[in-house]
Assembly symmetry: C2
Homo-oligomer: 282 residues x 2
């Protein structure tokens, strides 16, 4: 494999690597926080890489962005105020804004450069950035949540990089406590939670941290995500209130288009594999 | 990435590649039909590679083997006679034999060497090979099916390599017609059907071929499979009779262990993503 023709992410701790064939490197820069690269690939459109990890591609980002947003937004009874911590490529923001209940969607990514590059190389993800309900803030999301007043927000979506580097604090009990404190009565956090095949221990620790921060109802959802290690990803919802049902009828009658998500896919994502059921006590 | 430390499968036509870190190569040989390699990997146990394509690893084969067998066996009303075309690693055979309804399970793989290597390097997959209900035949599965009498078998599982090389004939209308002719009244074929992200056209063509061979009921199921391109795989069931329900109660009360499959996962695998629904007319 000629390294000049392929971008490879080595998930060295898992003994796996994933590669995409590239046509050319379109951009690279060291931002204040991270090393950012943009490639044009042979078959996945454009690719954003942060600190050596594949983040988003034109072709397959729909899995992740749809599954980070629609299940939570169709579970909360009436989501009006949504914060996205991270999510600088604006793909999650775009999905959130598809919900007519949403009155305010605030994206808080520490690194403005991620958004500026997304505007150039992933314009389709940024097409709702000028929605009057959208706010883009380029500040520290951990501090933002810590400083927030009680009952400030209905759903916090933690659309972060892996739990190393700048995102590490987003996987801690202290952060989840701060989320708990500023969420409204039926409030919930959604956090990308890595691969159940490769990072089951991490998912368990995250669930424990969420539980001990006061969230008594947890739900881990599973979905494909080719670009991420193992190709099988998860999101975990931590809620103050019961999660046993979602707004199925609203989901089935959704007034917007999706590529992956629908009401059946929502239910499917909730199915817990045997080995996952055995691993989690709650 | 040091090529001596990694095994890489380049799925060049899809612009993707997947790699596993290896400790050592344990074996290689050119059989009469294929080039076979066995590696010891860092984190996925042993790995079998056929003609450069990853086939099976100790760690993650359960996804594929369970999903190639249990959904079909819990859909057929009373599966007694099962044939596995291909499947030389014996993992599907092992899963099939977990069903107490099964009286006869015949594995027909053209390449005996695959099974002989599985016995050495994947002994856990071969632990039911001496079950009195099991028969292992090392002959051409296409011819076996063509020569079979009507009403010979209840389920044919096509556990093949990709539709190139020796397996190409297993994806054809002629083969499905031969299957149709030897299946019993409620008979069904299950075929591994690649990735909906990368090979949607192929799945559509396979479904068309199955339909034109006389199978009026089709069901494509989706499940994770880290080792295969995109990490998201599928199996397609083609049935002579209605597929709208499966034996949910029997699945929920199954008397055997699985790692991935359960009744909820079965239902989940049936959920059709939006883009898949739009792609398939039937």
């Amino acid at each position: 494999m000629n390294p000049s023709e392929w971008f490879t992410e080595q998930a060295a701790d898992t003994g796996t690597a994933f590669s995409l064939k590239i046509k050319q490197k379109l951009h690279e820069e060291q931002s204040e926080f991270q090393f950012l690269e943009i490639y044009e690939t042979e078959s996945f459109g454009n690719l954003m890489v942060i600190d050596g990890c594949t983040m988003v591609s034109t072709r397959d980002n729909f899995f992740y962005h749809e599954m980070m947003s629609h299940p939570a937004l169709f579970t909360h009874p009436n989501p009006k105020r949504v914060w996205i911590i991270g999510g600088g490529d604006c793909g999650t923001l775009k999905e959130v804004l598809k919900h007519s209940t949403v009155e305010e969607a605030v994206q808080i990514d520490i690194d403005e450069r991620v958004t500026r590059l997304a505007e150039i190389y992933f314009p389709e993800l940024c097409e709702s950035n000028n929605d009057p309900r959208a706010q883009l803030k380029f500040i520290d999301g951990i501090k933002w949540v810590k400083d927030a007043a009680p009952n400030s927000v209905d759903i916090i979506i933690v659309d972060s990089t892996d739990p190393i580097g700048p995102a590490q604090g987003l996987f801690s009990k202290a952060f989840y406590q701060d989320c708990f404190n500023c969420l409204s009565e039926n409030g919930m956090v959604v956090q990308q939670s890595e691969s159940a095949l490769l990072h089951l221990k991490l998912i368990g620790e995250m669930r424990d941290a969420m539980g001990s921060a006061g969230f008594s109802h947890l739900q881990t959802l599973f979905f494909p995500q080719c670009l991420y290690p193992s190709g099988w990803w998860s999101a975990t919802i931590a809620s103050k209130t019961e999660l046993s049902q979602f707004r199925e009828l609203d989901s089935a009658n959704k007034a917007f288009d999706t590529v992956f998500y629908n009401v059946d896919i929502h239910k499917a994502a909730l199915a817990q594999p045997e080995f996952v059921k055995k691993a989690f006590s709650i």
